[in-house]
């Protein structure tokens, strides 16, 4: 509840890529985990909107994937390599292979893509969120609280899902 919400805020999980070398290193070190790459720009409105959700996804899907952000103005070479023309653009990479690429700031699209690769998560968001945020909080597309799943539970969930 309140404690869990605080726990979420301690460490930022989304990594901002500094260079192509940095990018290659992160992709290599991801091992078997998926890498969700967001190509963004500081001047891109929709990117700013989806930013917080990415942090939530990074927490929620920490066992399955790493989320990284690439500023297209600072990393033109990467943007060119992946033929990025609009932002935000997303890639899913696993074992250095690009599995998917799409454009758009729809949180739903990102979420369903993550679910496709990482499996559904148990999202009991409404109850705990409601307690801390108050009943006046409008139900909206923003996930109000992420239940942090411990690694052991995650494995159980994976094996449950055949």
């Amino acid at each position: 509840m309140a404690a869990a919400a605080k726990e979420k805020n301690t460490t930022k999980k989304v990594i901002t890529v500094q260079s192509k070398d940095d990018f290659d290193r992160i992709v290599a070190e991801a091992g078997n985990k998926h890498v969700l790459v967001e190509f963004f720009a500081t001047w891109c409105g929709p990117c700013a909107l989806i930013g917080p959700r990415l942090e939530e996804f990074a927490q929620e899907y920490a066992d399955c994937l790493v989320i990284i952000k690439v500023d297209v103005d600072d990393n033109e070479d990467l943007a060119e390599e992946y033929d990025v023309s609009s932002m935000p653009s997303f890639l899913i990479i696993k074992n250095k292979i690009k599995l998917e690429q799409f454009v758009g700031s729809s949180g739903e699209r990102v979420h369903s893509t993550l679910q496709k690769f990482c499996g559904k998560r148990d999202e009991k968001t409404a109850t705990a969120a409601g307690a801390s945020a108050g009943p006046s909080q409008k139900p909206n597309r923003m996930v109000s609280m992420i239940k942090v799943v411990s690694p052991s539970k995650a494995n159980v969930m994976h094996s449950d899902k055949k």
Partner: protein, 515 residues
């Protein structure tokens, strides 16, 4: 050579293909690039992107030296970054501030007392838009396979360009054709404190602090437009005019525009020149100036000083001497084909001497040049009857000759000037001043009366005049104009209702509309 010439004159499709193939094979071995464009602004980019359409191998070099205040920007040139685009956005912002007050008159339940702009937010959204345009420009160049380098290119010899990479490495390349499109930058006056303490249009659109009480030195369109949007945003601008406002524009319309600005509370220091700027103990700017008519000195304190005294061409870094390109003052001399004194070196845009310094002029001339170089076109740029607009709160737009130019060229007896004041319908309810809503048509006196120039002060002047520019180019006559049915209620229709001539001496103020 002979084979190519006969192929060209035969003109058949196959021979055009053969010609192009032969041309590229011949050039591929001799030059690194078919075309190198120096400058990635309106003219340079248009030329580069058009050239690749015809198979040319193109390199575009663009670089922005930071202003003394440290401002810099991305690819796209003056228009995108520190010209037309941010100017129009800030003009719009100031008009919207006016609109809030008008809304109250129309029954909107808004609190229009003490509305204030959020300057930082305005700058942020304007800069975000500019950056998105920089990005789209970069992607466009990438998609069209125009090679782009962010560095200053300069001549080693007529066919060789050198530049330094970001890592400091010196590179050299050869080009069959070179187009100089480096544009210009604002001038600073040669007085104490000008560079250290003043800013220019290069800085204002990303200025980190609120401009506050601003002195705009210069009464060309840049100065007037800046003063007007600053006024509309609630700041307190003063315009310092060396001699006349809007040099080169129709005198009567220019004076009307200045009167409109005065009516709106913008102060003018007429026939005055700045002598020096210094910082006060409170951190403001003390400007010393001299009125050249009364020969008296004065001074005043401002938060911001903005120089808008003219622009200089950026020939200084090009090493044009090594190429043999002739210049006049700080501009490149070209002929009617945009060729410089060196046959394979051309120039487009603000850098050329004696042409209108406007984005659409640079773009069209750049495109036509590329077609002549790589697509066998012979079409030349027509620099006459170019329409333009000054984006003050009541805007001034014109196409064709000013009244004085018509008198000078044809003689006062051979021209007829139709004119009239008008009252935009929307102005009545909020009681907006229409004192300076005025338009005129300058025409030949005889026959169907070919129209030589059209001038309009009022709302959305650019939108009003654009269509008339095409009409003028097609040979619009007073007869056709007055037989054109107007669209009602608009302000543009006033052109179709012109009936009073200056010669008649009749009062050009209408009683009311619809009659």
């Amino acid at each position: 050579m002979m084979l190519l010439k006969s192929l060209r004159s035969s003109g058949s499709f196959r021979s055009v293909l053969l010609l192009r193939f032969a041309g590229s094979v011949r050039n591929a071995s001799k030059f690194d690039y078919d075309l190198v464009v120096l400058g990635g602004g309106s003219g340079g980019l248009a030329c580069a992107k058009e050239a690749v359409e015809y198979g040319a191998r193109v390199l575009c070099l663009d670089y922005v030296k930071p202003t003394p205040a440290g401002t810099k920007w991305g690819v796209g040139g003056t228009c995108v970054n520190v010209g037309c685009i941010p100017k129009k956005l800030m003009h719009q912002a100031s008009l919207l501030g006016e609109a809030v007050h008008e809304a109250v008159a129309y029954g909107w339940n808004v609190n229009d007392r003490d509305i204030k702009p959020d300057w930082k937010k305005l700058v942020k959204v304007v800069q975000n838009h500019i950056k998105s345009v920089n990005w789209v420009t970069r992607v466009d160049l990438r998609d069209k396979k125009v090679e782009y380098v962010n560095s200053i290119g300069s001549f080693v010899n007529p066919h060789t360009i050198k530049y330094k990479t970001k890592q400091g490495e010196l590179k050299q390349l050869t080009a069959q054709y070179v187009v100089i499109a480096v544009g210009g930058r604002p001038r600073y006056p040669p007085i104490k404190g000008a560079i250290e303490l003043g800013i220019t249009s290069d800085d204002i659109f990303s200025y980190e602090k609120e401009p506050g009480r601003t002195l705009v030195v210069g009464a060309g369109y840049v100065g007037l437009e800046c003063a007007c949007f600053l006024k509309g945003l609630g700041y307190d601008p003063t315009v310092m005019v060396r001699s006349i406002v809007l040099r080169g524009f129709d005198r009567q319309m220019s004076e009307f525009l200045a009167a409109m600005m005065t009516e709106r509370g913008i102060h003018f220091l007429n026939t005055t020149i700045p002598m020096g700027v210094e910082r006060t103990p409170e951190g403001k700017l003390l400007v010393q100036y001299r009125n050249t008519t009364t020969q008296t000195d004065g001074s005043d304190v401002f938060d911001t000083v903005l120089w808008a005294i003219g622009r200089k061409g950026l020939i200084e870094d090009l090493n044009l001497g090594a190429a043999g390109v002739q210049t006049y003052n700080d501009k490149v001399i070209v002929d009617h084909t945009e060729a410089t004194s060196v046959p394979h070196i051309f120039a487009v845009g603000d850098i050329i001497y004696g042409r209108p310094e406007l984005t659409p002029v640079a773009i069209l001339s750049g495109r036509l040049l590329a077609r002549r170089l790589f697509a066998g076109s012979t079409q030349l740029m027509d620099y006459t009857d170019v329409a333009t607009t000054v984006f003050t709160p009541l805007e001034y737009s014109c196409v064709g000759m000013s009244e004085e130019m018509a008198i000078e060229r044809l003689g006062a007896d051979n021209i007829e000037v139709f004119h009239g004041y008008y009252k935009p319908t929307e102005f009545f309810i909020p009681q907006k001043s229409f004192r300076h809503c005025y338009l005129k048509a300058v025409a030949e006196v005889s026959g169907d009366q070919k129209i030589l120039g059209l001038h309009y002060i009022g709302p959305v002047a650019g939108e009003v005049i654009q269509g008339f520019a095409a009409a003028l180019k097609s040979g619009l006559t007073v007869k056709t104009l007055l037989n054109t049915v107007g669209i009602h209620p608009t302000t543009a229709e006033e052109f179709t209702r012109l009936s009073i001539t200056k010669r008649s001496g009749v009062d050009p103020t209408p009683a009311s509309c619809c009659s």
